[in-house]
Amino acid sequence: MKKKILFIAILIASFLLSGCWDYMEYEQMAMVSALGIDFNKDTGKITVTVQVIEASSSGAQGQSGDSGQKGGKSKPSVEVMVLSATDVTLTRALTEIQQGTGRRLFYGYQQLLVISEDAAKNIMDEIEGYFDRTPQVRSTAYLIVTSQSCEDVLSTIDPGIKGIPSENIYRLVKISGDTGKSSAVSIKDFSQAMAIGGLEAVAPRIITRSSQEKGMQQNENDNNIQHVKFIETKDGHHIVQGIAAFKGVKLAGWLDSKESLGWAWITDKSIKTYETTNRSEETYSKETIDFRITKSKSSIKPKFDGNKLVINVDVHVEATLVKSKKNSDLLTPDVLSSMEKELSDCVNGDIKASLEKVQKELKTDIFGFGFSFYRKYPKLWHSTYEQKWDELFPDIPVLVNVDAKLINTGTTIRRFIFK
């Protein structure tokens, strides 16, 4: 019996005590919710900005007496602190931030990795290498690119949004794919696109608009801890629009909303809402038709026309009508057919715009035509095409076939008639 008790005691102790070295109090941790990386190509220095969650308790602790709260209950609120540090490497900048906060940086809650344009153009390999090897940062965190500074993005807080600011950006990124005007890309997705042959990486673009004219205000008095800056947050808002296209480990350029939509149609991204876009500014509000995309499916089929490689892009879209101010009151099959044609033409227009920009200007295969070709003709890919794909890609003819179907018009079969 004694032996059994000893056995159980040792067993339990072994389970419980073996992790004691990693014990850490909550107060000892600085919870990073977002991390931004800027690069100054003139100095060759990297600036890392982190948004750190500061969980605090506000509200009465029974002190005011008239708060109506009893039993010392407090109202939890979340505040954030934004810090940045500049150094020659990512690791050193992060270490400086850690020393500045006096707490260990904890990345378990990190949801965003923001990369500035210059960083995306110059040090993407270093960034990718760091996060690929660092398990503390979840690879499900979204990667976003900005043409502004990461400090700007992370220190701008929308005053109308409650909760952790980076979570708001996270939600914006997540939902951006619904309109096709941008697309959520995780660190894992980005790494995969960088590793897979015949496919280039993309990342959503974030634009920050500050309500303060002067932009970022830094409290210089607080900047005396090595290179660490405590950045004052400011009111503003964020827009996730367009995508950043990469070629290898370098940012090749930007796609606007329409071009991003074209990319989303080709790469079979799930688009939920759509408005026809082939309209002039004058007639825009009158003639725009809004659709809810219920189903979309696209396929990339490389084929040989004689000896010439041709890429066929087939897109099948099913939609329901959300809004239309077209002439006819009655939504007859003829009217629906014309709307289907309009939808089809618009999707085609998005795709053409995207192809034009990507093939002729950026010259980077973010559609994965090369990867599709490899899957169909693996031997030919290895023997001939893999080496010269970069040269061939801009001139490969792409045949687009869009099949649009309007499956219903919502709850009515007639336009709303105002009295």
Binding site: F7, I10, L11, S14, F15, S18, G19, C20, W21, D22, P135, R138, S139, T140, S186, K188, S191, Q192, A195, I196, G197, F371, Y374, R375, P378, H382
Partner: protein, 367 residues
């Protein structure tokens, strides 16, 4: 050394399954690296390739029922040669145990316990394993049965979440894009690494009644393991893509980190770590058991408990001395590529030839 304790055929199957489930659960990423997309087929065939050798062990055991392969070697080759082979066997067994322990510990330290010293985790595992080994083979069999069921189910529950969003069939196509040499290398590494199960079967056979008749359980276990491992790594490939999978260190733990369903189902690496921990405990127990049983042949069962403690200490000290995930990984790939299977085949050949010689001398193949 005739064993009096016999294991049931279900236990034979579970023990064989657990013995095959070793270093390859980490080093398959090396197979991915050398083979490319059909790496999971190379692993499937590599595991299955061990079946003839496993049946061979059971056949030899049938000729000398109640004896381990090392007992047979002692009878047919004499004490001197058998002792040399037993020492080599214990050394190799301890090294592959140390490799597995280092890879598990390395994964724990990379993902969870960054500051906990490796030796603490190793000591805990070796201690638990030694406690379980210090019982009859049937008890160890039952213990392994439970662990195998729990870790296999747990593994697939964890990875089943990948089918909601992360698994993409495009990532694993085309399946057969490889070269003959690449595929052959992957096959040989898989077959060689799975030869760990032959190491265990050489000892287990002494505790099996009518071994050859029970070889069906061994065949079944290896067939199941080949299906389980290859399907598991195929899922991982569909989640990560072979390009990224060929680089991962923590295998399933790395892959499970990227699985996310909505906002709530994430952090599955904790779930998958449980599988790896149970797998490591089961496998290290079998390594220690194998070394212990063969050491008892070496020292004629004197001070059996002391021998167990020494064998466990060797595994622990070797692991603590290596103290590196990468060394453990590359040592494991090296042993799997060049040593384990050839060593097993040499032992079996010697036992078979010795048996034939003895048969020709005495006119009988059995004792």
């Amino acid at each position: 050394m005739a064993s009096v304790n016999k294991v049931a055929k279900e236990q034979i199957a579970f023990l064989t399954y657990a013995s095959a489930c070793g270093n390859l659960v980490y080093t398959f990423s090396w197979v991915t690296n050398v083979t490319g997309r059909p790496f999971w087929i190379a692993v499937l065939l590599g595991v299955l390739a061990n079946i003839p050798f496993a049946v061979w062990i059971m056949y030899l055991g049938q000729l000398y029922q109640g004896d381990t392969i090392f007992d047979i070697l002692e009878k047919v080759l004499g004490k001197f040669f058998s002792k040399i082979l037993i020492i080599l066997y214990i050394i190799l067994n301890s090294i592959i145990a140390a490799c597995l322990l280092n890879m598990f510990t390395g994964s724990v330290k990379t993902f969870f316990l960054f500051y906990t010293p490796s030796w603490i985790i190793m000591l805990f595992i070796v201690f638990i394993c030694a406690m379980f080994v210090n019982s009859e083979i049937q008890v160890l069999g039952r213990f392994v049965e439970i662990l195998v069921v729990v870790y296999t189910i747990n593994y697939f529950i964890g990875f089943s979440f990948s089918f909601f969003k992360d698994f993409k069939i495009q990532k694993i196509l085309p399946i057969f894009d490889t070269t003959f040499i690449g595929f052959a290398k992957g096959f040989l590494i898989s077959a060689g690494s799975t030869a760990e199960c032959l190491f265990f079967l050489m000892v287990l056979v002494g505790s099996v009644s009518e071994p050859y008749k029970n070889s069906k359980s061994v065949v079944k276990a290896l067939a199941y393991w080949s299906a389980v491992l290859s399907s598991a790594i195929l899922i991982m490939s569909g989640v990560m893509s072979p390009e990224l999978l060929s680089r991962v260190a923590g295998a399933g733990i790395s892959v499970s980190k990227v699985i996310q369903v909505g906002e709530f189902i994430r952090g599955l690496e904790i779930l998958i770590l449980i599988t790896y921990q149970l797998l490591t405990i089961a496998k290290v127990s079998l390594y220690i058991y194998s070394s212990w049983v063969s050491a008892r042949i070496l020292f004629n069962s004197r001070k059996s408990l002391l021998q167990l403690i020494l064998v466990s200490l060797i595994v622990f000290l070797l692991s603590a001395w290596i103290n590196s995930f990468n060394t453990g990984y590359f040592l494991s790939v090296f042993l799997g590529s060049y040593i384990l299977l050839p060593f097993s085949v040499i032992i079996l050949l010697l036992a078979a030839l010795g048996t034939l010689l003895q048969k020709s001398r005495t006119g009988s193949g059995t004792k």
